[in-house]
């Protein structure tokens, strides 16, 4: 039986981190299709075109929509599991993320090993 490809959308404007996350997922054992964009507006466009299994987004993004707002908008139409990353970690953000059903919350900087472990757990990939 052919393994199903998991499609992941990364929304991160910090290029180094975006690239590293792409690389680490690309080389990880698992069949991932990774798409990266740096704005929530672009992400919404991508999501309207394709089905995604996981959304990984930064909290603070250039443009009108931030990470939490992006998750909030998607919650109403498509139920895509999401991971929130941020350097602006506060109790309020954590609470809000929890309310929106975010699967995981990573405060920058985080360990890549932990990060991949969590993604595999969410996507049920070994």
């Amino acid at each position: 039986m052919k393994k199903k490809v998991k499609r992941i959308l990364i929304v991160e404007d910090e290029k180094t981190l975006a690239l590293t996350l792409y690389e680490v997922l690309f080389t990880a054992s698992g069949d991932f299709e990774i798409i990266v964009c740096d704005k929530a507006e672009d992400a919404l466009q991508k999501i309207s075109e394709k089905e995604f299994d996981l959304l990984i987004t930064d909290l603070k993004l250039p443009g009108q929509i931030d990470g939490l707002e992006l998750i909030r908008r998607l919650k109403e139409e498509k139920r895509i599991p999401s991971i929130l990353m941020t350097a602006y970690g506060t109790e309020e953000v954590r609470e809000e993320a929890k309310k929106l059903g975010v699967k995981a919350y990573f405060e920058k900087p985080f360990s890549l090993v932990e990060f991949i472990k969590k993604i595999k757990e969410i996507l049920d990939v070994k």
């Binding site: 680490v24 930064d58 350097a87 920058k108 900087p109």
Partner: protein
Amino acid sequence: MSIPFDFRMQLLLSLSREISGSLNLSQIMRFIKFSIQTFISNIVWMNIFEVEKDKLIPVIEEEKERFLKNEKFFSEIKKKKEYIYIEDLMEKKYDYFPFHKEAKSALWIPIKRWDKIEGLFGIESEIIKGFKLEDIIFLRIISDFLGVSISNIKLLRENEERKKDFESAYEISLQINKPFKKDKLIKIFLKLILEKFNSIYTAFFERQGNILYLFDYYTTLNGFSLPHQVLIGEGTCGKSAFSGELIKEYEENVEGIKSKMAIPIFWEENLIGVIEMGREKEFSENEIFLANLLSNTFSLSYQNSKYYEELEKYINQMEKLVHEKTQELIKAEKFALIGQMSSVVIHEIKNLLSGISAMAEFILLKVSDEKICEIAKMMKDEVEKAFKNLSNILEYVKPIKLDLKKVRIEEVIKKTLLLSQGFFEGKNIDLEVNFEEDLPEIIMDEDKIKEVFLNLISNAAQAIESKGFIKIKGYKKDSFVIVEVEDNGIGIKKEDIDKIFEPFFTTKKGGTGIGLARVKKILDYHLWEINVKSEVNKGSIFEIKIPLKI
């Protein structure tokens, strides 16, 4: 509610003006009654009793019977010559029968002029312990003014024909009884009496111990001078100071100033100084009488000028305080702005660093070349260090929320010391902890205060290069608990002491300048004070002052 000090002072000044300016006791009484009721609450009765040849005459009429019942009490005050405060009338400590049926406490003050009892001043309150210490001090000062005016009134009564002199004395008193400072008052008074008595000179000698020092003088004669100091007992003014009475001297065979007069000036029983004047013509009986009256007026104004100076000092202090507080606020605002800005900048940097950190970790995960891995590891470590520093700064910048509980300060120190073990490693440091027994529990945010002491102890340990001591002391002083952290380390430079609590100020290599700023911030939120004493190469003492009542 207690009335602010400056308000009381102003009231005193205006009261004294009214009291000394009037020769009518019932008018004075009305004025005092009105003024006193504005700052002492619960007064139900007040009256003045004039002493007239062993008899007491109330200014406001009283029931004869009650009045007579208190004869024993009145003679007791007259004998004691000091005020009597009956805190609770129910205790029956004195043979006193209150004038008002609701009275619960009473205060009686003898009205003295020099050592003579001129009257009694009685006040009753409808509550137990109706008078605070400051009220009593205030009322005693008022009764001093009353003494001056009653003795003037009596003089007038005995000398109806001298009404004119009273009027001139009253005129002069109106001109000098203003909020003047001492030197200005004396200048004005000397000029006024020079004109009034047609003198060649008028002078004021101030007394200090056994010597009269020339304070100021006024003269119409060119080249005239007076000795700078006179011993009590010598010369006209010295003789007057010695006897405590007005001295008049006349020398026929002298050119110019043949006649001299010296008037002693008293406040309560104390000789303040002497006014001396001289001219060619002899001083008349009427003039001597007027001079006596004026000495009364002058002593009152002299006393007032001292109150005025005190008041001004107080106002200056307040102004200074306001200025200091304003500067603090400006500083605080500046730091708040820095805070906001640094918060934004720090987050940006954190974001950037998280990419670098992830990259370094990626290399560690994917590359097997040892050399490269070592470099990646170093990169990751450095970035982590930067993160830690940034987080510290962020911690300082964000506002503090206190979680207050009652805690024993010595327990907090004990717990902090358990966390401080690492600071002492590799150094030979003698730790001495000494807390007074039975220190009260203190309301605080325990975690934040632990952070404060952790910081202070860490700094103390860092200040010690290899061998030294750290002493932590806790004791009660007045209404404060004081905690001191002392070390004999490298100390702080004099020019740095004022800056050590400012954020981002540091003298340590690799320091962020946040530790002590954070300490100050936490203590500010607690309304605790921190002071530093330090000397280079001798050590530092950080003293925390914890008020027990806020």
